[in-house]
Subunit: 196 residues, 2 copies
């Protein structure tokens, strides 16, 4: 009779969200069916609706949870009393770590957000625009302090974010590259390209 498991730290809903991230990544949001998700969770499809409101709600939660994590990290970095290049270095490494540790969720937020419905679609895009703008500001500071060479800061942000996002390829075919080499070499490459 109990509809939602009480107490416990990891609720059934958390399990559903994890499995949904995996399923949405591998099949895509639209191709993923609630019957497939139910099978992964170990219940019949209609039973899912005791824990969630709808399929689209799962996508919303995944996308906004990831947005919140990246924003929270940037909040911390911005306040740190270090050079601009140290900040950018840490941000690059954080993105890489997120790709490595929360691959499914980051992937879904990166690739399936367009299936969000209004008003969530606009809210999400706005969060991303704000995040990018804050990175641009960080880079502009670094150009002013002569740490970075003079180059279009928006293109720099685009290059950084795109490059780290591409780790999704690496996740599929590891090719003798350890996470540490990946992190150090990619962060080095991207940062060196920005320096004077």
């Amino acid at each position: 009779m109990a509809k939602i498991k009480p107490g416990k730290d990891s609720t059934k809903k958390d399990v559903i969200l994890m499995k949904a991230s995996l399923l949405f990544r591998t099949r895509g949001f639209n191709a993923a069916s609630m019957r497939q998700l139910a099978e992964m969770v170990g219940v019949e499809a209609p039973s899912l609706y005791n824990h969630i409101g709808s399929k689209i709600e799962l996508l919303q939660e995944i996308c906004f949870k990831m947005a919140a994590e990246f924003t929270a990290h940037l909040d911390v970095i911005e306040k740190m009393p270090v050079t601009s290049s140290a900040k950018i270095d840490q941000i690059i490494r954080f993105h890489i770590c997120m790709m490595l540790n929360k691959f499914d969720q980051v992937f879904v937020a990166d690739h399936e957000w367009m299936h969000l419905k209004e008003p969530y679609l606009n809210q999400f895009l706005n969060k991303r625009r704000v995040y990018e703008k804050r990175l641009v500001t960080l880079i502009e500071e670094g150009i002013r302090t002569k740490e970075f060479r003079k180059s279009n800061p928006y293109v720099m942000v685009l290059t950084l974010l795109s490059a780290v996002r591409g780790i999704e390829f690496w996740q599929r075919q590891r090719k003798n590259v350890t996470p540490q080499v990946l992190e150090d070499d990619m962060a080095g490459h991207l940062l060196k390209g920005m320096l004077k």
Copy 2:
């Protein structure tokens, strides 16, 4: 009665492929319906099947056409009698130009290939692996000739390909960046990060 338009350079099938690229990019392959495609083309849904075999065939043609274009370009570059960094520079710029000029098709090949069915799925992934391996070889040459600094060449390829792919974001929100600035600054950033 005529099933396929004769002569003419741009057939109805070409129009369908163009519209399908746009539709698959904006909605995703699975969310895109043949009825929507038919409306964009200006016919009823069943009429599409006089020109095409199936929905999945459209995806196949888009993905393999793009793979062929990138491969053909690399064939040319490899034979050129110039430095490794000049080759890499040209490849980066070619990728950027493709993103700018054939955005829909490149996007679909990048994001929707996973909906291909076997044996096309494996064929496509194999083409991409071969392409990446050839880039790795180019970079290894540049490291041997001391043009590039010593760093994992596979990570370098990953960084390059990921960064140029990210121009899809820029396509959505131009932000006072001209194509020429984008091309020069991004290619500069990526190449500088590789040099000694």
